[in-house]
């Protein structure tokens, strides 16, 4: 039995809703379609900047945005660096009535969503409420809120616990609040697969669109820079204990020694292409052409030692997109920043692309690992590379590990980018791969 979906015709050959049904009616499609959704809006909140422009300019300049943790005194921890979002005034981005009942992680998600909707010039109020949904990848939930309320409970008793704890800490908070803020009644969801969650949210958005919903906010955000969340990260044994930012998180570097946690993420406006065309969406960054996911199933904290299941995910994603490996212009790698995990990913890339030295990048070396938010941000970066015809460099790379045998992008590399493969892996063995492609002007 073939595991991969049959290769699909290119989007140019496949008008959306080929059976003539109008996605905007929000009627359920009994048989899911094969339409390729397009991304029409990006919203970013990251250590590199707030908004697409700030983020992208900083990323192309290669500005290292990991720094000593300032949100609390990290001196008693082995790891003291992180990618922190700076200059973020919550009141500028999130309505006051939501601020009090939500965690910092939700602020990032709501801010990114507002930016993405503005970028897409999409006002959900112009559409019937069931036509729009929100599907986010979630990571560790509301850490600031959670630790504060645990402290109140255990020092002052149950009557000190906030009436908002039940809706701020849990993993669906950002999706739920975003649906309320923007009046989105479509089939919303929350997927959790650690760092792969951003890609998996886009896959779920695609399933939703193929069943008749016209527009989905997807992506994810993360904020895990509390003492307790950092303690949880440290228990993985994979956090870099470097003292200097330049030595911190170094994907594919000879001196890679683990990752640094970061905060932030991205929201993407994903649309049925026909619906986007009908409303005259100002940008079409690209289409979600293919996707696949696998799991190493190798142990609670382990990965398949040779990256084989990551390679399977990549191959299946390319087959789903109907894309030959030779057509791929760049791989946005997971870039875990641990020597063994980087070696696995390098082996998988070599296995899929053969002798051809496909350009590989991992700009997240500049900002740290943002859990589900990080893979959402990688897709945004890939779409910006397509838009501008430039591949950003691997973040914080000084000495490429020659053993990886990869064409690692050292400086921003100009050139036409039509097809990008994005990898993301999650703790425990999640492997997801997503193919985004330029959409030909019609």
């Amino acid at each position: 039995m073939s595991a991969s979906a049959p290769a699909r015709p290119t989007s140019a050959d496949t008008p959306s809703a080929a059976d003539g049904s109008a996605p905007d009616t929000a009627s359920a499609r009994r048989v899911p379609g094969t339409v390729r959704p397009v991304v029409t809006g990006l919203g970013i909140v990251a250590p590199s900047g707030i908004g697409v422009q700030e983020y992208w300019a900083s990323t192309l300049r290669g500005e290292l945005r990991v720094a000593p943790i300032t949100r609390f005194d990290p001196s008693r921890y082995d790891a003291r660096l992180a990618g922190q979002v700076t200059g973020f005034e919550p009141e500028d981005h999130v309505d006051k009535r939501y601020l009090v009942q939500t965690d910092r992680w939700t602020w990032f998600g709501m801010a990114a969503s507002r930016l993405a909707l503005a970028d897409a010039a999409y006002d959900p109020g112009d559409h019937e409420p069931y036509a729009t949904a929100v599907v986010f990848g979630s990571g560790s939930g509301g850490n600031d809120f959670g630790q504060r309320e645990l402290e109140r409970l255990w020092t002052r008793g149950r009557t000190a616990v906030s009436v908002y704890q039940s809706i701020a800490w849990f993993y669906a908070a950002t999706t739920g609040q975003t649906s309320i803020r923007h009046g989105l009644k479509g089939p919303s969801g929350v997927v959790v697969s650690d760092g792969a969650g951003g890609l998996d949210s886009l896959a779920q958005a695609r399933r939703v669109i193929r069943r008749g919903t016209s527009t989905v906010l997807a992506g994810g955000a993360e904020s895990g820079l509390t003492p307790y969340a950092l303690t949880c990260h440290l228990s993985s044994g994979r956090v870099s204990t470097a003292a200097e930012p330049a030595a911190g998180y170094k994907p594919f570097d000879l001196h890679a020694r683990g990752y640094l946690p970061g905060e932030g993420g991205a929201t993407l406006v994903v649309e049925d292409p026909a619906a986007a065309a009908r409303r005259g969406a100002p940008h079409v960054y690209g289409e979600i052409a293919g996707y696949a996911a696998t799991h190493d199933a190798a142990g609670h904290a382990r990965t398949a030692p040779d990256g084989r299941w990551l390679a399977v995910a990549m191959r299946r994603a390319l087959a789903d997109a109907g894309v030959d490996p030779d057509e791929v212009d760049v791989v946005f790698a997971d870039g875990a920043g641990s020597p063994d995990l980087d070696a696995q990913e390098a082996a998988a890339i070599r296995a899929v692309f053969g002798a051809r030295p496909v350009p590989v990048t991992a700009p997240q070396g500049l900002v740290g690992r943002l859990c589900a938010g990080g893979s959402a941000l990688s897709v945004a970066a890939a779409l910006l590379a397509i838009r501008d015809g430039v591949i950003p460099a691997v973040g914080n790379l000084d000495t490429p590990d020659p053993a990886h045998g990869l064409d690692l992008v050292r400086d921003p590399r100009p050139g036409v980018v039509r097809t990008a493969l994005v990898n993301a892996r999650g703790y425990g063995g999640f492997n997801s791969s997503l193919v985004v492609r330029a959409v030909s002007p019609t």
Binding site: M1, A3, A5, P6, D19, S27, A28, V31, Q101, Y130, L150, E151, W154, G157, R158, V163, Q165, S166, I167, W169, Y171, A172, A173, G176, Q177, I180, K185, P187, S188, G189, V191, V192, S193, D194, G197, G224, P227, A229, T231, C232, L234, S235, A292, A293, T294, H295, D296, A297, G299, H300, P305, R308, W309, A311, A351, G426, Y427, G428, G429, F430
Partner: protein, 445 residues
């Protein structure tokens, strides 16, 4: 247009209050017994609500390894036990490990059950899609108390942390553990949509099969939320029952005297398969997952409008996908949490989506017996629907005694009913505004 793949339930595993295993679960429900009691997992004296529906669960007796128990929160332990039962029930020969990490130590080529060389695309793709609303909250709180010295330290002391804290921090550990135990190398994820997680995970799992992304999916949900912080957060909004002097009768869905839900725990896991493949191998099929939909009310994180419009829309779409009409529905498994607003809300939704048929169809809430296990309950209720189809028996709503004028349907009070069931509808409503509906049909429909 070609017909979409049908999705069959070929294995069911359950860990529930009042009994471990699907047979014990079904016996409890059809006896109309309640498993709610005074909360015993910790001393509940300071809390407003002191009742719960707890599982008497021995993970080692359920087949878990010592290491699986050591590294996992109770919610993962429930799911592993339920999955072991479900896979056994299905008759599928999925790889089983002992659950120890050392199963793959040494030989690089052995990570895939000894399959040599690069992974290939032969054989069915096995996926994992599990729901949970609050993940490893219990473990995270237990460890927080230690590292923070009972809350005294904001900068908690990492030297007191266990090695498995990151595993607990992100609830995707649930999918990882099941993938590992059963050698499931297909797509894996956790669905965390609050109290509809258990429906949505089965809905998403079925979609993986329909769309050809997987051939077999371990789908279901698990929750073990009975910890001080969870009890406190629901106390704070008075969502839970304070009938502390009468815990056995505290969960009272649709009854006029209902005063909130009773927190529960547990897990149900299903083996979902492409129905043609299941028929070809002669598998027993409990039911087909024929339709699923979710909508959001975009209104309030916890509040519900009394009109039930969005839940009715989810029901309408789920029935349409399943190609059944209101007249086909033989049984509705209600969300029936026992809060004032919920039971009124969904009664309105049933009338809005089924019209007069709503008055003829038996509607019941098993939360009256096993409490409300947040993200897990949707899957436990799907298990009840599958078993209702299998046995042509409808479980009752226990503790029903006084009619609420706003809840005027046939809630199958207190006594199970022999009743042919070929189409069952189950619904859920969750914090965050999620409204989900799923339709199960008999195997030959």
């Amino acid at each position: 247009m070609s017909e979409p793949r049908q999705v069959a339930i070929t294995g069911i595993g359950v860990v529930a209050p009042g009994g471990v295993g699907r047979k014990e679960f079904w016996t409890l429900l059809t006896d109309g017994r309640t498993a709610t009691r005074r909360l015993s997992l910790f001393d509940p004296t300071q809390f407003r609500s002191q009742v719960a529906a707890e599982c008497d669960f021995d993970p080692r007796a359920a087949g878990l390894s010592a290491r699986e128990v050591a590294r996992n929160d109770r919610f993962v332990q429930f799911a592993l036990a339920a999955a072991l039962e479900a896979v056994e029930d299905s008759g599928l020969d999925l790889r089983r490990t002992s659950g120890a990490d050392s199963d793959i130590d040494g030989d690089v080529g052995a990570g895939d059950g000894g399959r040599a060389g690069p992974a290939d695309d032969d054989g069915p793709v096995v996926g994992v899609c599990l729901g949970s609303a609050v993940g490893a909250t219990t473990r995270l709180e237990d460890e927080y108390v230690v590292v923070s010295d009972s809350g005294r330290l904001w900068e908690v002391d990492p030297h007191y942390a266990s090695s498995f804290l990151y595993h607990a921090l992100v609830p995707s550990c649930l999918a990882t553990e099941l993938a590992h135990r059963f050698g499931a190398h297909g797509p894996a994820s956790v669905v965390s949509t609050g109290c509809t997680s258990g429906i949505d995970a089965v809905g998403y799992g079925a979609q993986l099969i329909v769309d050809g992304e997987a051939d077999i999916v371990l789908a279901g949900a698990a929750e073990a939320p009975i910890s001080p912080i969870s009890v406190a957060c629901f106390d704070a909004i008075r969502a839970t029952s304070a009938r502390n002097d009468d815990p056995e009768h505290a969960s009272r869905p649709f009854d006029a005297s209902r005063d909130g839900f009773v927190m529960g725990e547990g897990s149900a896991v299903f083996v979902l398969e492409d129905a043609d493949a299941a028929r070809a191998r002669g598998a027993h099929i409990y039911a087909l997952v024929a339709g699923y939909a979710s909508r959001s009310n975009a209104f309030h994180m916890t509040g519900l409008r009394p009109d039930g419009v969005e839940m009715a829309e989810a029901i309408r779409v789920a029935m349409d996908t399943a190609r059944v009409g209101g007249h086909d529905v033989n049984y509705i498994n209600a969300h029936g949490s026992g809060t004032k607003q919920n039971d009124r809300h969904e009664t309105a939704a049933f009338k809005r989506s089924l019209g007069d048929r709503a008055y003829e169809v038996p509607v019941s809430s098993i939360k009256s017996m096993i409490g409300h296990s947040l993200g897990a309950i949707g899957s436990l209720e799907i298990a009840a629907c599958a078993l209702a189809i299998e046995n042509d028996v409808v479980p009752p709503t226990a503790n029903w005694s006084t009619r609420d004028p706003e809840c005027d349907l046939d809630y199958v009070p207190n006594i199970a009913r022999d009743h042919p069931v070929d189409v069952a509808l189950s619904v859920g409503s969750g914090f965050g505004g999620f409204q989900s509906a799923i339709v199960l049909t008999g195997p030959n429909r």
